[in-house]
Structures are given as C-alpha cells and as structure tokens.
C-alpha cells in the first residue's frame, strides 16, 4: 500500500468515527446513503477507469442485489451474510451474461445494453408478483450482530463504513494488480497491449463482472437500510447518480468514488433544502438541474474529477526508486533449435475495397536468423506485419507461428504462441512509467489473477520477479536509469528502445520490429544492431521492416523485398542488392533500365 492510500485511509477512519458523533441525525442519514451509493460507484469507477467502458444501467445490478437480499432474508430467513453472498453472485452473473457477448465489441454497445437491462429490470420488478410488483418487498430487518442492532443512522454508518473500506482496498488491489496494469495499458494502446499477450476481452469481462458484484453489494446494504425494495431501485436516474458520483470523484482512482458519493449526496441534500427557498413551489426533482450542470462542467473542465484536482494541488511527483529490484542484464533463454521453422506464411493476401495491398506473399523465418522486409513506400510491408501479428485479418492465406495457426486471431494469440512485435508509430503506454511499460511485457510470464491481485498478498512475490525481469530488459537497451520516469517524458528515440525492451520482456522466440531504427541517433542505432545480433546468437528469430536499406543489408541474414504488394525477391543481402527487379522497384519503372 502506498503512502497516499495510508493518508486517505487515516483521514477516512477519523471521519468514520467522528462523523456520526458530531453530525445531526439528518446529516448522518445522508452520510449513510453516501456510503451505500459509494459501493456501486466504486464498481463503476473500476469499469470506466480500467475497462474503458461505461454502464448506464448500474442500478440494475444494484437492484438485483437488493431484491435477492430482500427475498432471501424475508421469505427464506437466510442470515444476512449468507444472503449477501448470493445477492452479489447473482448481480455478477447477470453481468457475465451481458458481457460475454458484448464486451467483444467496442464503443457504445455495453452502454446501450446496460441501459436496456436497467429498464428491463425495472419493468420486470413492476410486473412480476414474485418481486412484489409495484409495492416491492418490505419488512427487511435491520441487521443485528452479537446482540446489537444497527438501526439508527449512526449505528448503520459504523456498520457500513468498514465494509466500504474493505471494498475500497479490494478495488485498489485490482487496480494495482497485474490485471489492472494490463488494462491500464489497454486504455493507452489496445493493439500494443494485445501484442504483449494481454487478452483484452477476457480482462474487460472480469472487471465488468467484479464491477457488477460491487453494485450488488451496495444493493444489499440498501435493502437493509430502507427495509423495503421497490422497482425504483433499478431506475435510470439512480444509474445516472452512480455515474455522476464516479465521474465527479474522478476515474483515476477508486477513492474518487467515495469522495464523489459524499459530494453528490450532500449536494443533493443541500439543493433539496435550498432550491424551494429560491424558486417557490419548485418540485423536489429540481436538483436534477444541478446534477446535469455538474456532470457537464466536470467532464468539460475537470476530466480527472475532484480527486485529481486535489492531487494536482498537492503536486506530488512519484517517488523515485520506489520500486525495488536489481538490474541485471537479460538472462539468456533457450529458444527452439537453431534453423527450425518459427514463422510460416503462405499465400498471404489483403484487399481493401478494390485495392490489393498484399498479394500472395509466402515466406518463412527460422530460429536464429534476422530477416529484413524492405520495399518502397506503400509496398505493403506494414500491412504484412499487421496480418502476421493478428492485428489485421488476411483476405486469404495462413500464418503459423511454431506450428500454431494464428492468422485472423487476436494479437494476444500471436503473443501466446511465443511471438511479439513493435510498431512503426509508437504505441507507448503514456500513463505508465518506463518500468510500468516494460512490466506489461511480463504479462504472459506472470499469472496473478483478479482475485489474487485484489487480495494483494499472494501476488507480492511474483511482482518482485516481474520488476526484476523488466529492469533486466530495460538495461539490455540501456534505459535502466530511466526506469521510474513517466514513459511519455522520454525522448522519441528512447521511447522506441523502450518498446523494444517491452517486447523483449516477453522473452519471445520470434520478434517483429517495425522500423526500429527510425528516429534513433547513430549511437543508438549501433547499440540496437548489436543487441539484435546478440539475440540472434541466442537463437531468437527477428523480422524487421526498415527504411534504412544500408543498415538492413549489414544486419540481415536474408532480405525479403516487397513491391506493390508482391514478394519480388527473397534471399541473402548480396543477391538482393544486385537483383534488377529490386533496383527497378526502388528507382521506379523505366524500360531502358530494366531491359538494359
């Protein structure tokens, strides 16, 4: 746990103890609602902050939790904690069923579907006798543990506060975990994270399910506090309120949800009191204006929410050297036997509309060799790379990595087969440090899941190993001393080298580099060339696209030349250099040259 967390926790604990003693009953009552609503908002913050998705129907999961709890407690007499487990599980299950097909899609689809779910749940709750139709389910008892009944606002506040703290700590664990790191990377560059083996879909689904579980937990405490659950619990306005809490608090941290919850609930209460004084006869819902305005203003002016504004005020910089670990050079690794086929490409073809970008390209790459892919601009080199690495689906043809078909699958499948790539246009994870970037490269070489990450402890040892390996990869490209700098602050050439280190952290058998030399200084080029030769000696297979033809010819064992989407030459550098078709491709077609 970091210092900022400890401070937050301390302040919060103090507030918990003091608030019910000092506040009026009405005030404490509002505080109880803030705590209840903070729980689904924490889930929503995880969903938006990590998965980059929004749920417009989080109240649906909240209501599923509340109804389940109400029914199990009042009709079946289950004890509160047992019922709560079922309530949370049911909310999570609903999310699983929705997310399973929908999280494969991008953009607004999940927002739409959750919106629909919210309305369906409201309607079902209204129409179904089992859920008590419009009147809902009542008679839910106040919780009682150890002979003590938590029935006053102050008592309930004290019961609830530790739950919220635990929820926050768990959520924080998720953010800091391997899964959180991978999803943070996905938000910066999905394609790069995928190329490092991050299964975006799976992780997003997990976060969505967890997020709904939080909403379900909120519903449990809502049911017990109100004593009655009615269809209004699934209402769209409540979903909006959760959203407002998350956004206002800030998506950068789960603590934002707590800050946001108190801000929104007290704002709500204040407007309820204040507006009728200003506008006589105004209906109760007028605080909606305030909510709407706050939402617009926050998104437009304060995209990081209250929490980030506060952190900016304090201007803390990340403590240097905070992450331990010793830097050693990259440990040599056993690759498949030299000369064995690692990459086999057959008949690869891509058409865009009427344009053929890549036309029937076949080539193979063996362990322990460097193959360069060259050709004039627009020859289809990057398109080839994209198809080989699973970024693009080929129109025809197959790709096999070490015997596994990978064409048309996601890049993370390519990575799982032991291969990765870098990108021509840098795909830096801008919100992470240099070390944080390279750690994502260890994603497949570590295994802590969401639950382990949330609990924090089991993952600690593994985390140390990840840090160590990442530092090793960084020192291999000469960036070890920059490990704690924000990645976005590095100069361009170093960012490129950092991406190479990130790819190396995966310990691939096959490495695809798209213009690794572009933007590097002379010394950096030399260093990179030496590094690549060293990796080749260890038995790694390397394919690179490069514009600097001279550099390529000096480095590569074999050169493949693409022109107008077709492979026009493939052989040792000397042979390719003298191939008339290659020279013509570079100079431009001119009859006299070709024939002469």
């Amino acid at each position: 746990m970091r210092r900022s967390d400890l401070i937050g926790l301390g302040v919060f604990l103090l507030l918990i103890v003091l608030f019910p003693l000092l506040g009026s009953t009405a005030l404490v009552n509002t505080g109880v609602y803030a705590l209840i609503y903070a729980i689904p908002a924490i889930g929503l913050t995880l969903l938006m902050g990590l998965a980059g998705q929004v749920s417009l129907g989080h109240a649906a999961f909240f209501a599923i939790g509340a109804y389940t709890q109400a029914i199990l407690v009042t009709r079946y007499g289950l004890p509160m904690p047992v019922a709560a487990v079922a309530a949370i599980a049911l909310a999570a299950l609903a999310a699983l069923l929705i997310g399973l097909p929908l999280l494969r899609l991008r953009g607004h689809f999940l927002a739409l579907a959750t919106l629909g779910l919210g309305i369906i749940v409201t309607i079902v709750a209204n129409e179904w006798e089992f859920t008590g139709s419009t009147s809902g389910i009542f008679g839910i008892p106040k919780p009682a543990f150890g002979g003590r009944t938590y029935d006053s606002p102050a008592e309930y506040f004290w019961l609830l506060a530790p739950v919220v703290v635990i929820a926050l700590v768990l959520a924080q664990g998720v953010v800091r975990s391997r899964v959180g790191r991978a999803l943070g990377a996905v938000n910066d560059s999905e394609v790069a994270a995928e190329a490092l083996g991050v299964d975006t879909y799976r992780l997003r689904l997990q976060v969505f399910v967890v997020s709904a579980g939080f909403a379900g937990l909120g519903g449990v405490f809502y049911a017990h506090w109100l004593g009655v659950v009615s269809p209004g619990a699934a209402n769209f306005p409540l979903s909006v309120e959760f959203l407002l809490i998350s956004v206002l608090g800030g998506l950068g941290t789960v603590w934002g949800a707590l800050v946001g919850a108190f801000a929104v609930e007290f704002l709500d209460e204040a407007m309820r009191q204040f507006i009728p004084l200003v506008i006589p006869g105004a209906a109760g819902e007028v605080q909606l204006i305030g909510f709407g305005l706050v939402l617009v203003l926050v998104v437009a002016l304060l995209p990081g929410g209250i929490h980030q504004a506060f952190t900016k005020l304090l201007r803390r910089t990340p403590a240097p050297g905070g992450e331990g670990g010793t830097a050693g050079a990259l440990a040599p690794r056993r690759h498949p036997a030299r000369g064995s086929a690692l990459l086999e490409v057959r008949g690869l073809t891509k058409r865009f509309g009427g344009v053929v970008a890549v036309d029937d390209v076949s080539l193979d790459v063996r362990a322990g060799e460097i193959v360069a892919l060259i050709g004039p601009n627009g020859a289809g080199k990057t398109t080839c790379f994209n198809m080989i690495s699973g970024v693009l689906e080929p129109t025809a043809g197959t790709v096999e990595v070490a015997g596994t078909r990978t064409d048309g699958r996601r890049p993370n499948v390519f990575a799982r087969a032991g291969a990765t790539r870098t990108f021509q246009n840098l795909q830096v994870f801008r919100s992470a440090s240099v070390l944080g970037n390279v750690k994502v490269g260890r994603h497949l070489r570590s295994g802590a899941g969401l639950v382990g990450g949330a609990l924090g402890l089991p993952a600690r040892k593994e985390e140390r190993a990840v840090t160590e390996a990442a530092l090793g990869a960084l020192s291999a490209v000469g960036l070890a001393e920059h490990a704690d700098r924000p990645a976005a602050d590095l100069p361009f050439g170093s960012q490129r080298l950092m991406e190479v280190a990130r790819a190396l952290a995966l310990e691939p058998d096959l490495l695809l580099l798209d213009e690794p030399m572009a933007g590097l200084s002379g010394a950096e080029r030399q260093g990179l060339a030496d590094l690549l030769r060293g990796l080749r000696a260890e038995g790694m297979a390397i394919v690179l696209v490069e514009h600097d033809v001279a550099a390529v010819l000096a480095l590569a064992d074999r050169v493949a030349v693409l022109d107008d989407g077709r492979l026009i030459a493939f052989g040792p550098p000397q042979e390719v250099r003298e191939n008339p078709a290659v020279i013509a491709a570079y100079l431009g077609e001119e009859e006299s040259d070709v024939r002469g």
Partner: protein, 288 residues
C-alpha cells in the same frame, strides 16, 4: 384481423416518431462520433413548447415553427457549449456529457411546465373508419409528417451537395477537411438536423401521447434502439428500425400485455446486439 391492422397502424405511427429520433442520433453520430442522449429531450421540449404556443393562441403551423426554432436553438447551444469545448471527445465522454445536458433540459422543463403532462389538441378532429378498422386521425398525421420529414432528410443526404458534404465528413474526415469542409460547421449542421427531426417528432406525437418533462427519456432511448437496429450509420436503417420497433411494441402490448410494451425495445436491443452487432443493415464496417 381488425385488431391486427389497428395495432400495425398505431405501431407505424409510434415507430415514425422513433424513426425521427433515430435520424437525429445517426446524423450526429456519423459526423462527430457523439452519442447524443439528449435527443429524446429535444422531442419533449418541442411538445411542451408547442402546447404553450397553441395555448397562447398561435395557429398550429406557427406553433410547430416556434417549437422547431426553440429546439434547434437548444441543440445548437448544446453543440457549442457542451460538445465543442471538449478537446478529446470519445464516445464514452460524449455519453456522459450529453446525459448531463439531458438532465439540465429535463429539469428546466420541469421548472417551466411543472410535473404534469400537457396534451396538444389533435391536428384535426375525428377518426378514420375503414371497414370496421378505426384509425385515430392524429395517427395518420404522425405517419404523414414522419414520412414527409424522413423523406426530406433522406433527400438532403442523398441529393443535396450539403448533405453529401456531411456524409463526406463522416466517411473521410481528413479528406473532407482537405476539400475545405469545416468539421465544426458539419457537426453544427448535424445538430440542426437532429434538432429539427426531434422537434417535429415531439409536436406531432403530443396529441396522442401527451408531453411532459420526463417524456424524453423513454422516447430517446427507443430512438437510440431504433438507430442501433439500423446500424447507427444509416438514415434508411434508422427509419426502418424505428418503424419495426413501433409495430413490434404495439403487437406485444396488444396481444401479450400492455405493461411489457416498454420492455420490447430493450429485449430486441439485447437480442440484436448479441446476434448482429452491426445492426440489421449489411455494411457494418461503413466507418472504419
């Protein structure tokens, strides 16, 4: 059989309103990538403005014009004050942002018109009776108006240079700028189109469904569903999606249970998203 025809006609009328809302979603989304959740509020605002204008003694066409002007002004203000200032607009941001705008509009309507519903008098008195099938006059008005406005929007996008410029912006934003089309103006124009269609939908449906401050939510959501049914990228798809949804809802309400009417849209939505996320139309990859 009589029932069936009545349900279908009522469904088409209602679907026409959904279609107009859906057109608003599509026109804004294609040009700017913004999902405007305030679309339904545009309709509610138009209905209430229309009611007040008629109450002030204005003739119907003038009242409609007033409603359109007011809503377009609000729509343009939304674009200028809420959308344009945001530097990095993502779909996620736009959803949260326009949700805020819709809340503001809703609350303003509540302040001005109060919580109760207001109903505009039917455009013409009397119902149509054809061989035992009774059709409300206003439903015919809705159908006719929606056909007219939907057709006009379609004509705008398919036949006028300005409409084609908007499509160019949606398909190839960089090339559109290079030929001199301003993306800001295009977005603004898209909001005008959305304002007009939303306003018309709100006014013509007011005599049947009545207008109230909270009327926009479900209407907007269903318009959104209709637009998604059509793939969110095509005007024709939006119109088809709206009509389909309206008919389906009325059949379910008529034959199954009235209370389930509002669930239809969202069940259809979820089923559709599961089965064909690209919408019913074919070109799922029209905007890459």
């Amino acid at each position: 059989m009589t029932d069936l025809i009545q349900f279908v006609v009522a469904g088409l009328a209602q679907g026409g309103a959904y279609a107009l809302i859906a057109i608003g979603f599509v026109s804004i989304f294609t040009v700017s990538g913004v999902i405007n959740l305030a679309q339904g509020e545009f309709a509610a605002l138009a209905g209430l403005t229309g009611v007040s204008a008629i109450g002030a003694g204005l003739p119907l066409p003038i009242a409609l014009a007033v409603a359109i002007v007011v809503v377009v002004a609000v729509s343009v203000a939304t674009e200028r004050l809420a959308i344009r200032p945001v530097k990095k607009m993502t779909t996620l941001t736009s959803i949260i942002l326009t949700l805020g705008v819709s809340t503001v509009i809703k609350a303003a309507m509540l302040l001005i018109w109060g919580p109760q519903g207001h109903t505009m008098p039917a455009f013409t008195a009397g119902d149509l009776n054809l061989g035992g099938v009774s059709i409300r006059g206003q439903e015919l008005w809705i159908l006719a108006t929606c056909a007219l406005v939907g057709g006009a929007v379609w004509w705008f996008y398919e036949r006028t240079l300005l409409g084609k410029a908007l499509r160019a912006c949606a398909e190839q934003p960089v090339a559109a700028r290079l030929v001199g089309i301003s993306p800001k103006n295009a977005t603004m124009l898209a909001f005008v189109v959305a304002g007009v269609t939303g306003a018309v939908a709100g006014v013509v449906t007011s005599p049947v469904y009545s207008s109230a401050w909270d009327y926009g939510l479900t209407l907007g959501l269903k318009g959104f569903v209709a637009a998604t049914l059509g793939g969110l990228l095509s005007i024709r798809g939006a119109i088809a999606g709206g009509l389909l949804l309206g008919v389906l809802e009325n059949l379910v309400a008529g034959y199954v249970a009235t209370g389930l009417r509002d669930a239809v849209a969202f069940v259809v939505l979820i089923v559709l998203l599961l089965a064909r996320p690209g919408g019913l139309a074919k070109h799922a990859e029209a905007r890459v």
